[in-house]
C-alpha cells in the first residue's frame, strides 16, 4: 500500500469516481495490512508465552535440591539432569530411526505418484495418501501395539538369533514392545506427512525444466535427478522437518507400544531400555501434583529446547538455498 499515501487520497474529491474507490482502498488496505501484521505478531507473543509459562512452571523443579526431588515417588535419579538424560537419548533414538525408515520411502512414493504412476491413477493414490496423513496418532498406537507387534515377533526372533552378535540386534524378548517397533510405527506415522509435502513439491517442478531435460535425451530418472529433485530439495528438507517434529514429540504411539526403561542403550530389540520424554510425561502427568508436575514440565522444557535446536538446524539448511517462488 506504499503507492497510495494518505495525503494523495485525501486531496482527491469524491466527484472523481476512481478516486473514491482508491481512497476506500486506502483505508481498507491499511486496515488489512494492520490486521495481518497483528496476526504475525501474535505468533511472536505466543511463542514467548510458551517458553515463559513453561519456565515459570518448571522453575520449582529446576531450583529444587536433589533431596527434595527424590521425594517424588518415581524419581530415581541423582539430579534432574541425570533423570532427563536417558529420556532425551530415547526420544532422539526413536525419532532418528523413524526418519531413516520414512524419508527414503517417502521420496520414492512421492516420485511414484508425481512422475511414475499413470496420471489417472495418480490422483486416486494422492487422495489415499492425504487420508493417511490424517490418521490419528492414537489409532497408530492401537495398530502398532495390537497388530504390528505380533507380526514383527518372528522377524525380530530371526534377527536376534542370526544377527545377535551385532549389539544392535541382541537380546530380543517377546512381545515386541521395544524401541524398534515404536520407531517403525513412528516411521509409518510420519511417512504420509513427508510424502504429501514431497509430492506437492515434485508436482510443482516447472514443466519446462522437465521437458528441457527430456529433450536433451535424458532418461526419466535423469530428468528426475536433474530437474525434479534439485527443485524440490528445500521442500524435502522442510517435509522431513515436519516429520521429525512429529516424531520427536509423538506421545501416544510410544506410550502404547514401548515398555519403558531409563537407560542409555543401543539394544534396539530389548524391552525396558528406552523411554521418550513425551510418553513419560503422558504416563505420569495425570497422577502428578506439586513438585512432580514441575519436574515433568521441566522435561517438557527440555523437549521444547531440542525441537528448537532441530528446527534451527533445518532452517539453516534451507536458508543456504535461494527460494524459488512466485511472489519474489
Amino acid at each position: 500500500m506504499a503507492v497510495l499515501s494518505p495525503a494523495k487520497t485525501t486531496k482527491l474529491t469524491s466527484e472523481d469516481e476512481p478516486a473514491v474507490k482508491r481512497s476506500k482502498g486506502g483505508i481498507a488496505g491499511r486496515l488489512f495490512q494492520w490486521l495481518s501484521t497483528a496476526a504475525g505478531l501474535t505468533i511472536l507473543v505466543t511463542l514467548a508465552a510458551v517458553a515463559g509459562f513453561l519456565i515459570l512452571r518448571a522453575w520449582p523443579a529446576l531450583t529444587a535440591s536433589p533431596a527434595e526431588l527424590q521425594e517424588i515417588s518415581w524419581f530415581k535419579a541423582d539430579s534432574l539432569l541425570s533423570y532427563v538424560g536417558p529420556l532425551i537419548f530415547g526420544t532422539l533414538l526413536a525419532s532418528v530411526l523413524a526418519l531413516l525408515i520414512a524419508v527414503p520411502l517417502s521420496v520414492g512414493i512421492a516420485l511414484f505418484i508425481s512422475h511414475y504412476a499413470p496420471r489417472r491413477l495418480a490422483q486416486g493414490l494422492g487422495y489415499i495418501i492425504d487420508l493417511l496423513a490424517a490418521i490419528p496418532s492414537v489409532v497408530y498406537g492401537l495398530w502398532g501395539a495390537l497388530w504390528l507387534a505380533p507380526v514383527l515377533n518372528p522377524i525380530f526372533e530371526w534377527l536376534t538369533s542370526s544377527l545377535g552378535f551385532i549389539p544392535l540386534f541382541a537380546g530380543y524378548q517377546p512381545p515386541a514392545k521395544n524401541i524398534l517397533t515404536a520407531s517403525i510405527v513412528l516411521g509409518v506415522m510420519i511417512l504420509p506427512i513427508i510424502t504429501a509435502v514431497a509430492r506437492e513439491v515434485f508436482l510443482q517442478t516447472p514443466r519446462l525444466h522437465e521437458e528441457a531435460a527430456l529433450a536433451l535425451g535424458a532418461t526419466r530418472w535423469e530428468m528426475v535427478r536433474m530437474a525434479v529433485l534439485p527443485f524440490g530439495r528445500s521442500g524435502l528438507v522442510s517435509a522431513s522437518m515436519l516429520g521429525l517434529g512429529r516424531a520427536l514429540g509423538e506421545t501416544m504411539a510410544v506410550l502404547m507400544i514401548l515398555s519403558p526403561g531409563f537407560l542409555y542403550s543401543f539394544f534396539l530389540l530389548e524391552p525396558g531400555q528406552h523411554q521418550s520424554i513425551a510418553a513419560n510425561i503422558a504416563a505420569k502427568f495425570p497422577e502428578a501434583s506439586g513438585l512432580s508436575v514441575s519436574a515433568l514440565i521441566a522435561t517438557g522444557l527440555a523437549l521444547f529446547v531440542i525441537t528448537l535446536v532441530v528446527n534451527m538446524f533445518a532452517r539453516w539448511i534451507i536458508s543456504r538455498r535461494s527460494e524459488f517462488s512466485g511472489a519474489n
Binding site: 512452571r57 520411502l105 520414492g108 535423469e222 514429540g249
Partner: protein
Amino acid sequence: MTTLPLSSTPAAPAPPGRGAASGTARRSRLKPWAPWAAAGGSLVLAFLVTLVAGTPSFASVVALAAVFYLVGLTAWSRIVEGPRWATDRLATTLVTFAFGLALVPLISLLWTVVSKGSKVFSLTFLNTNMVGVFGDMTEGGVYHAIIGTVLITAAAAAISVPIGILTAIYLVEYGRGPMARGITFLVDVMTGIPSIVAGLFAFSLFTLIFGPAYRAGIMGAVALSLLMTPVVIRSVEEMLRLVPNELREAAYALGVPKWLTIIKVVLRTAIAGIVTGVMLAVARVIGETAPLLLTVGIITKVNWDLFDGLMTTLPVYAYNQYSQGGAGVDRAWAAALTLILIVMVLNLIARLVSKFFSPKAAR
C-alpha cells in the same frame, strides 16, 4: 507406466563410445513386455527357491521375488540397453517398490481398524455415553466423546484459521525485513512444537490464571490451536507463494488496490490449496491425544460447556479404553473407526470444496 514420448523413441546420436562400436544411431531397447516377463520369472523362481528351502509363505515369496526382479531386470537392461537405461529401470523399480512397501502398513492399518472396529460399532454406540458402564459390560458408546471432539476442534479452528491465514498473507504480501524473517523463523519453530508441550503450555497458562484445579475444554482448544496455527500458516503461505507474480502485476496494472488484489486474485487462485491445508490441519489436530489427556481428561457423560469441567474426546476415549483392556479394547477400536470416519468425511468435504471452487489449473 506412462509412456513419455521421448523414452520410447530412439534418441538421435548414441554416446561416442557406443556409437563407434555399433556404428549406428539406433539404440536397442527392451520390449514393453520385458518388465512383466521379469516379474513373472522372478515370482516363479522365488517360489521354487522357497520350496527347496522349506515351506513357501506369501510374504517370503514376494520379498524374494522382489530381490530377483530388481537384480534380474537391471542386469538384463544393462546388457541390452546400456548403463544409463539400466539405472533408469532400477530407479523405476525402486520407486514402485517404495510405493508398494508403504501400502502394506497403510492397508493393514485401515483393514484392522475396520474389521476390529465394526465389532461393537453401531448407531447405539454412536449415541450412548459411558454412564453406568463398568467391568466387562459391552454396552456404552462415544456420544459424549464426539460432542467433546467437535466442540474442542471447532474452537481450536476458530482461533487458528483466521490468525493462520492473516499471518500467511502478512508473510507473503506485506512482510519485509527482519520482522518478517523473524516470524517465518518462529513459525518454523512452532511447527516443531511437540503436541505434549502444547498441552503443558495450556495447562500452565490456565492453572496459573484460574487455579490449579481448573479443567475445561477451552484449555484443550488453546493447546490444539497452538499446534494447528503453524500448519495453517505453512500451507497457506506455500499456496500463496505459488500464485504467479504475473497475476498480481496484472491486477495492479488494472488499478486494483493491493488488499483487493490479495482477496480477489491471490486468495482466489490459491483457495483450493488453502482449503486442503486447513482441512489437513483440522484432521491433524482432531486426532491429537496427548495435549487433551493432560488438559481435558475424561468423564462418562456429555459436557456441552467449553469453559467449565472435564470433557471426553474421541482419541482420549480410545486410549482410555485401550488401557482398561478387556471389553474396552473393542470400544477402543470402534472409537478409532469413528475417528477415522470423521476424518474421512472432513477430507471428502475438502476435496469437494477444492474441486468446485478452484480455478482450472493448467496441469
